[in-house]
């Protein structure tokens, strides 16, 4: 049989696309290399604890029943209910740079007030920036490249405020070092500052299970342990995929969430097809399981974005990890009805992919420990020291991400060039997910939905 669409990757974007296609009666098969679903945003169990691979927070938070905004759109498109995601809002997050801390909650007024208080000469400038942000259409599949640094720099004249605003937006979704596209900046600005953060008590597991259940109930097929080795084509059309085990799966259309460079490699195209550049932004992260709630130590923030100098260096670090900046995510600090069983703190820093990918096996464990200690030493300048409460630790590096997701260099935000309209050199091969360009958990789902709507449901 030939499927209407074969989807490569059972992550958030692939599953969301699959739901749309299956709902409208298309035959669809999702192929996943790994033993489980979720991709860059998967979940796992280690030493009797459940962990999320990528989830810090779901952005675009909206109260149940909200009729507009990305979350409402997402739920409507997938025919899901608000309680399917059961998102609990954050308490409060902070951006901490030398001399200034900007706090923000899901209500935008707090950040506005903080900026007026701490950067009074920028109050009007900030309003001008908001007008530019508001004018951007984040759903468009046609993007003209505009430098965010230029636009923001034209509005805000205090360089420190510029860096502080860029910091969370880059950390939570820029594939490009030092600058980002202004449409992407606006998307992240709205998702994080206007709308805010939420998290299901159970973590990403809840969302992924709801997606898979919906997908299968609509007749969609999911094949795990079914990695794709190559895409077959005739002239300008893809005709089938060949799996690692040699099986051939015929398809009218192929939608790949594997990444742009990764997908091009599956095509084994001739040299006339321009190969995109892989990304270079990756992270190292440590998950600490604690014997008490972080709030008992006096730590109440949900996410802390820190940088210990006026300039924020969002780029591939020369050292294995950059301890000057980082993200401290505390999953306990959301407004749940019942608390999490254990304390949990996740500390993330920029990491050099080449270093971690090429480290000899016998040095890997030791280097992880060394860098973990350096990163934590840096991070406990910003939150109460929790180290004496640690029950267990798990760490991942770019090597881990590459191993489990196949994404090159372990780049969670993918390659720098985004295929926003999802088209490739083949007429019926489309991209969704990280390299289409809508990033994050909500972004990934909207990506799958948008590309499915644009091309695969006509």
């Amino acid at each position: 049989m030939s499927y209407d669409t074969v989807i490569i990757g059972a992550g958030l974007s692939g599953l969301a696309a699959g739901i749309r296609l299956a709902y409208f009666g298309k035959s669809v098969c999702v192929l996943e290399r790994h033993t489980t679903i979720g991709g860059l945003n998967s979940f796992y169990r280690l030493r009797n604890r459940n962990h999320d691979v990528g989830l810090h927070a779901v952005t675009n938070y909206a109260a149940p029943g909200t009729k507009s905004g990305a979350m409402s759109k997402l739920l409507r498109q997938l025919r899901l209910r608000w309680d399917d995601f059961s998102l609990c809002p954050q308490r409060e997050s902070a951006i901490v740079f030398p001399g200034h801390t900007l706090r923000f909650r899901n209500n935008f007024e707090l950040l506005q007030q903080q900026i007026v208080d701490q950067f009074p000469r920028q109050a009007d400038n900030f309003q001008r920036l908001l007008a530019c942000v508001d004018a951007q259409d984040e759903r468009t599949l046609e993007r003209k490249p505009i430098s965010a640094r230029e636009v923001v720099g034209d509005c805000i004249s205090d360089p420190l405020l510029v860096e502080m605003l860029f910091c969370p937006l880059m950390f939570y979704g820029s594939a490009t070092p030092r600058d980002m596209d202004f449409t992407q900046f606006a998307i992240m600005f709205k998702s994080i500052f206007y709308e805010g953060f939420g998290r299901p008590l159970e973590g990403i597991r809840l969302i992924l299970k709801k997606l898979v259940r919906k997908f299968k109930s609509l007749g969609g097929e999911l094949w795990l342990r079914s990695g794709v080795r190559s895409i077959q084509r005739e002239h300008n059309r893809a005709t089938a995929v060949v799996l690692d085990d040699g099986r051939v799966v015929d398809a009218q259309n192929i939608l790949s969430s594997a990444g742009s460079v990764e997908t091009m490699r599956l095509c084994r195209s001739d040299s006339s097809v321009v190969q995109p550049q892989p990304g270079e932004i990756s992270f190292i992260e440590t998950i600490f399981s604690l014997d008490r709630q972080p709030a008992e130590l006096g730590h109440h923030e949900t996410i802390v974005f820190y940088n210990d100098s006026p300039d924020f260096h969002y780029e591939n670090p020369r050292e294995p990890a950059d301890v000057r900046s980082g993200i401290i995510c505390t999953p306990n600090n959301f407004e749940y009805e019942t608390p999490l069983d254990e304390g949990c703190i996740r500390i993330t820093a920029l990491a050099n992919p080449d270093y971690w990918l090429n480290l000899p096996d016998d040095e890997y464990v030791a280097q992880k420990k060394i860098w973990r200690e350096r990163i934590v030493r840096s991070a406990v300048r910003y939150i109460p020291d929790f180290r004496h409460c640690t029950l267990d630790v798990d760490m991942f590096t770019p090597r881990t991400i590459k191993k489990f997701t196949g994404h090159l260099n372990g780049c969670v935000y993918g390659a720098p060039h985004k295929f926003v309209n999802g088209r490739t050199h083949l007429d019926n091969l489309y991209l969704c997910g990280t390299d289409q360009g809508f990033l994050g958990i909500v972004g990934a789902m909207l990506s799958g939905i948008s590309i499915a709507n644009a091309y695969l449901l006509r």
């Binding site: 759109k73 025919r79 709507n453």
Partner: protein, 87 residues
């Protein structure tokens, strides 16, 4: 299907697409977009739901005739007159 049955079908489709909207006070002659949060993505879903349920294809150039309940019912009446009502 008669006019009322078609109207009911549209209401049920809207309830699936925009479940948080209160449809009980929907005014037939006022455009949908003026009464609820309905954008082009939602609108395409209405068209696709109709295709899924009744196998009717609506060409893109006809979309502008589906702006309100009255105009939609009017457009669909000849297409659905021989189809039996789901109720």
């Amino acid at each position: 299907m008669n006019l009322n049955q078609i109207r009911q079908v549209i209401l049920e489709i809207l309830a699936r697409i925009v479940p948080d909207e209160d449809l009980s006070e929907l005014q037939d002659k006022v455009p949908f977009r003026d009464q609820m949060e309905l954008d082009s993505m939602d609108f395409l879903d209405i068209v696709m739901e109709l295709r899924k349920l009744y196998r009717i294809q609506i060409p893109e150039e006809d979309y502008e005739q589906l702006t309100s309940m009255s105009s939609t019912v009017g457009y669909l009446t000849p297409l659905l007159k021989d189809v039996s009502s789901p109720v």
